[in-house]
């Protein structure tokens, strides 16, 4: 904000106000008002709606499943995300650009397509891998692993795209210095690389957690028709809404909004410390 207002500092006051009203109006119409109405509907009967929802074992189960799936997906993406970022920034290999583009694919492809693709590969009856796996008693699609996979897929770029620019900006000078001082690869990674990208990691984790909690399309396909057992919070919202249980639908929606807002608040709190961390880098 500070730099933006400095950049437009010599514009006329009227124009500045006009732009402000325009932007704020746009945000209110498209984000704040609809989200606010969800909250309003949730608390229409005071806390009654929330209480009804949370006393339903299906709702509690779906919320727990959502949290579990999101945490697993984020954990998996964290490991692969850091690894892939290192690969993309620190190593040269044929097909690097293709890999980089592939990592962005989940951002471009509709989650529904992701779900369908996973079903094609892991379907127990005609899937590419599905049959041999189901012969060994491993279910992927229409079970929790499939939901985790779908969530991983859609959230993958978020962590990588946070870490890559930080790694690039950091350069490998510090890592070389660590090597020359006697550190092996593991020590160099833990003591130098990781602390250098820690804010990017935190930021990426929070973003992908928010994304994972809210994933609907891919999970919808992969979870199949089974009700209750494999139902995440977003799926439950849709089912309850279609069954005219609006109070439950709005209550769970509200909880999802709260979780997302919490994530964003965490990011907002971390942001200043990230930029504080980055300023000396620019100076050097």
């Amino acid at each position: 904000m500070a730099s933006a207002s400095a950049a437009v500092g010599n514009r006329s006051v009227a124009l500045t106000w006009f732009l402000r009203v325009l932007v704020v109006g746009y945000l209110v119409m498209i984000v704040a008002l609809p989200t606010g109405l969800v909250a309003q509907n949730t608390f229409k009967d005071g806390l009654g709606g929330l209480r009804t929802a949370l006393s339903d074992p299906d709702v509690v189960h779906s919320l727990l499943l959502t949290v579990r799936v999101a945490v697993m997906a984020v954990a998996i993406n964290l490991v692969f995300g850091v690894g892939m970022s290192l690969l993309l920034v620190r190593y040269e290999f044929p097909g690097k650009r293709a890999l980089s583009a592939l990592i962005d694919l989940p951002l471009a492809v509709s989650p529904i397509v992701v779900g369908l693709a996973l079903v094609l590969v892991y379907n127990p009856r005609y899937g590419f891998f599905g049959q041999p796996l189901s012969d060994r008693g491993i279910d992927i699609v229409f079970a929790t692993p499939g939901i985790v996979m779908a969530t991983c897929f859609v959230a993958l770029p978020l962590i990588v795209r946070e870490i890559v620019p930080v790694l690039e900006e950091m350069g490998d000078d510090q890592e070389q210095a660590a090597r020359s001082l006697g550190a092996n690869s593991r020590q160099t990674f833990l003591r130098v690389t990781l602390p250098g990208i820690r804010w990017a990691i935190v930021y990426g984790v929070v973003l992908s957690l928010a994304r994972s909690l809210g994933e609907f399309g891919a999970v919808k396909i992969v979870a199949g028709k089974s009700i209750g057992d494999k139902e995440t919070a977003t799926l439950l919202v849709q089912r309850e809404y279609q069954n005219f249980h609006q109070d439950v639908a709005y209550s769970v929606s509200f909880l999802l909004v709260v979780a997302a807002v919490l994530c964003l608040v965490v990011v907002a709190i971390l942001r200043p410390s990230t930029s504080h961390h980055a300023t000396p880098k620019v100076k050097q």
């Binding site: 000078d173 510090q174 070389q176 210095a177 660590a178 090597r179 020359s180 001082l181 006697g182 550190a183 092996n184 020590q187 003591r191 130098v192 602390p195 250098g196 300023t279 000396p280 880098k281 100076k283 050097q284």
Partner: protein, 332 residues
């Protein structure tokens, strides 16, 4: 000999960075690798440190074969042009890094860090972050960090290149004094001939991936092996087919017995105590002569004055040939 480099070759794609380089760097000395940018000197230093690998050839450090050792096993200290400080660690932690990796006892680390910070005059900054230090302070910290592990050789890659002129000069003097105190075998890369002449015990001149000459600053300056070395170590001008330093030319306003070239003063440029005179010889060539202000005044030189030039007695001369490094110097 502390570092033996034999028949080193290194290519980056089509670019030949090092072409059959063989050089010995003596123990306990301060050696400069001097040459123009892109001449291969940094590559040589990085190969010695193990940060780059050679295509062919071998490196021996303190008698131990090191060609294929990873950098962390070579026991070399490396100082980077852009400091490469660990940004998230305090100054003290930066210096302690190598010792902590070696799992030395805490008390010993604290003592050594203290000692080193004193050596580089940064004791009062021990708990600051590197971002709160100036460039010169950061580089001194990087030096302390490299010295902490008691390396058998200390390698510095254009250590003062990113600093402004005044700090660079200070640090250069300081490095010389530090070396006299610590006596660790030190090799530093520079493209600044003044820096090399002032600081180094020995200079290795490297150009286009090859060693042009190895010697003490005096040897290099007084008896350069070829026009490149002569041109790189200082200004050179051409006097009747002989290359020599512009300040080694005698100027007189009347013909003498040793006169080799006569001409007319076409330009006079006063820079502080010296006067840079451009003489256009009768054959059309331009000769640069440097005189002191007093001398130029005594001769009453002005543009258009007829002058007779001769090499001074004892001047370093070399037959002017092709392959001069900085032809623009002779034109100046």
């Amino acid at each position: 000999m502390s570092i033996e480099v034999k028949n080193l070759h290194k290519r980056f794609g089509d670019f030949v960075a090092l072409d059959d380089v063989t050089v010995s760097l003596p123990t306990g000395q301060l050696t400069a690798l001097l040459g123009p940018s892109g001449g291969g000197k940094s590559t040589l230093l990085r190969i010695i440190a193990g940060l780059d690998s050679a295509d062919e050839g071998s490196v021996t450090i303190e008698g131990a074969e090191a060609t294929h050792l990873p950098p962390q096993k070579r026991n070399v200290g490396f100082v980077f042009q852009h400091y490469a400080v660990f940004k998230h660690m305090t100054v003290a932690k930066n210096v302690a890094f190598g010792l902590e990796i070696r799992k030395r006892p805490k008390a010993e680390i604290a003592e050594r860090v203290d000692e080193l910070l004193k050596l580089v005059h940064l004791s009062q900054f021990a708990h600051r972050l590197p971002s709160q230090l100036s460039g010169g302070q950061r580089q001194r910290m990087a030096l302390a960090r490299a010295l902490a592990v008691e390396p058998s050789v200390l390698l510095l890659d254009e250590p003062f290149g990113a600093l402004d002129a005044k700090v660079r000069k200070e640090l250069r003097d300081w490095l010389r004094r530090l070396h006299d105190e610590v006596h660790v075998t030190t090799v530093f890369v520079t493209h600044d001939q003044e820096e090399a002449l002032e600081v180094a015990d020995e200079i290795v001149v490297i150009n286009e991936g090859r060693v042009e000459q190895v010697g003490t600053p005096d040897q290099l300056y007084d008896s350069p092996a070829n026009p490149f070395v002569m041109g790189f170590l200082g200004e050179v001008t051409d006097l009747g087919g002989v290359a020599l330093r512009p300040h080694d030319i005698e100027v007189s306003v009347e013909p003498g017995p040793d006169t080799s070239v006569s001409g007319t003063v076409t330009r006079l440029l006063r820079v502080g105590f010296e006067v840079r005179v451009t003489v256009t010889a009768d054959d059309g060539s331009q000769v640069l002569v440097v005189l002191t202000r007093t001398h130029a005044r005594a001769l009453d030189l002005a543009e258009g004055t007829r002058v007779w030039l001769a090499p001074a007695r004892g001047a370093t001369t070399i037959v002017a040939g092709p392959g001069r490094a900085e032809p623009e110097l002779t034109r100046a």
